[in-house]
Amino acid sequence: MVSRRIRSAVEPLGFVLPCIAVLGVFVYYPLVQNMIYSFFRFSAFSPEKIFIGLENYRMLLKDEVVLTALRNNTRYAFISVLIQVCWGLVLAAILEDRSIRRLAPVFRTTFFLPVVISVSVVCLLFGFIYSPIDGILNNFLNLVGLGAWARPWLGSGKTAIWATIAVSQWHSTGYVMMLFIVAIQKIPEELYEAAEIDGAGKLRRFFVITLPQVKEMFFVTSVITVTGSFLVFNEPYILTKGGGPGTSSITLAVHMYQSGFFKDMMGYASTIAVVIFLISAVFAVIQLTAFRSGED
């Protein structure tokens, strides 16, 4: 009996150890190391690290690029919730409506297509769309008589960040839409039938039945979208060559990358990573507590 109990206490170790070891070495250890690195100054090319205490954090507070990045990340979050989550929900509700049941699969698959294209292909494509002279967008504006609106979308500090944000909306709205479609499909049909008998119109049915029923999904996708907005790297890195013109379209992740791997200030890059960690930790806690309340 005793030996069997010992065996069952140790036996699961064999199963979970490989997973925990990989997580430890490549996720948790770097996380802790990153915290420590943020108090040091060092280069990627030399093993020597100089302890400088809070110097990196002092620099961070004075760094105006951090403010620009935070502002851009916030814009990203705001627009993404508006378009990906709110518009994604509206699209899902329309596509799940009986009146266009026969056309819905075509639209659904098409709107979902960008999701399965890799981000670099999407960004290269939008490089062609935004191209000042031979780009599709400016050509289209000329075609419909709005030539005055044509501009170098990615080359101007005023429009670069918005043009970049637009690409992410094009890329990801279908993702959130699909999540809402599945959520709406899970709503019992009887609820809609009852409302229809009561004489509720489509708009009313959306607000009285659909919206409350997908409340949880709405919250989850909002948190995911906002978290993602504070981690954005690919789009500004590729489209505006690292947040240009100047730093007008920079985000926190791009700023971290450039500080570390471009200016070779690895310690300072770690400090920016700490900021990113703190921001995403806050949203993770929000999501976790909300999930728990949903389970009760």
């Binding site: 997973c19 925990i20 996720v27 009146s99 266009i100 670099s120 494509l125 699909m178 992740a253 770690s270």
Partner: protein, 284 residues
């Protein structure tokens, strides 16, 4: 059912609201579909044709754009992406199913801390570990190899997939395991002969989600790999663009080659993919 659908369709399709909704949907359709169509169309044009008139169809399809793109690097990136993606799937599936088995079939008290460690991993982002990971991979001597991508990819995908598979394992009835134990099966045999075959659908979902991540990952791919030899498609396309400069025909052909096969794959397994998205609700 179809009859009722047609009936509703007819009854509801008269109002101006329906026309407006259809117009909005069609606008969205064009905004999504035209750029994709444009890539395919322009990939068959010469660079001069592209610059002269963005709307025009190719005078004569330039199939050699595809040959050019394939020979000038895309083939290598494609193979690299395939190697990295398949290895990542193998690593994620084996490690996370093992861990999920341990977590779901034993009641040992310390396992709840393991669960916390796994769940915590879901909240951590690659960005936060980037600088130290660069150092770790350098010290291990595997930066600039396939392993520099595979190991971090596996690590960051383990939490989600372990939880996904664990929730499936938890639903397996105890009796199946008990009868297997009576037949003299060890726990490793129960895992391999009963649990793995039973959980094929969830493993497939996991594999598809992992493929989606590994095929598209960009941040690690550009930082941990310097050599063109090991670049995956997302990173490779960037150097491809820089090498081609304004040779747009082959660049567009390269984009099409990188996008179309994987698009067809994901759309054909859409059902499993969406199920995984729902279970994870985590964006890549």
């Amino acid at each position: 059912m179809t009859g009722a659908g047609v009936f509703h369709y007819k009854r509801n399709s008269i109002g101006p609201a329906q026309v407006l909704i259809l117009a909005v949907l069609c606008t969205g359709f064009v905004m999504v579909a035209y750029p994709l169509f444009w890539v395919l169309m322009s990939s068959l044009k010469t660079t001069e044709e592209i610059t002269l008139n963005v709307w025009a169809f190719p005078a004569e399809p330039q199939w050699q754009n595809y040959v050019n793109a394939w020979n000038r690097g895309i083939s290598g990136y494609f193979v690299n992406s395939l190697i990295v993606t398949l290895s990542t799937i193998a690593g994620v599936l084996s490690l996370s199913s093992l861990c999920a088995y341990g977590l779901s079939r034993y009641k040992t008290p310390w396992l709840k801390y393991v669960l916390v460690v796994v769940m915590g991993g879901m909240m951590l982002n690659p960005q936060v570990c980037l600088v130290p990971l660069y150092g770790i991979l350098t010290r291990l001597g595997i930066r600039n190899t396939y392993l520099a991508l595979i190991l971090p990819y596996v690590a960051f995908r383990l939490p989600l997939n372990t939880l996904l598979i664990r929730s499936f394992f938890l639903s397996v009835p105890k009796e199946i395991e008990e009868s297997a134990t009576l037949d003299g099966c060890g726990s490793l045999q129960i895992y391999g002969r009963i649990f793995l075959p039973m959980s094929r659908p969830i493993l497939l979902t996991s594999a598809i989600l992992t493929a989606y991540y590994a095929w598209n990952e960009f941040l690690f791919a550009i930082i941990f790999i310097d050599s063109n030899k090991y670049r995956t498609i997302p990173a490779g396309l960037m150097s491809f663009r820089d090498a081609l400069q304004i040779d747009w025909g082959p660049l567009l052909a390269g984009m099409a080659i990188s996008a179309v096969p994987i698009m067809i794959f994901f759309i054909s397994v859409q059902k499993h993919f969406v199920r995984g998205m729902m279970a994870g609700s985590v964006k890549g």
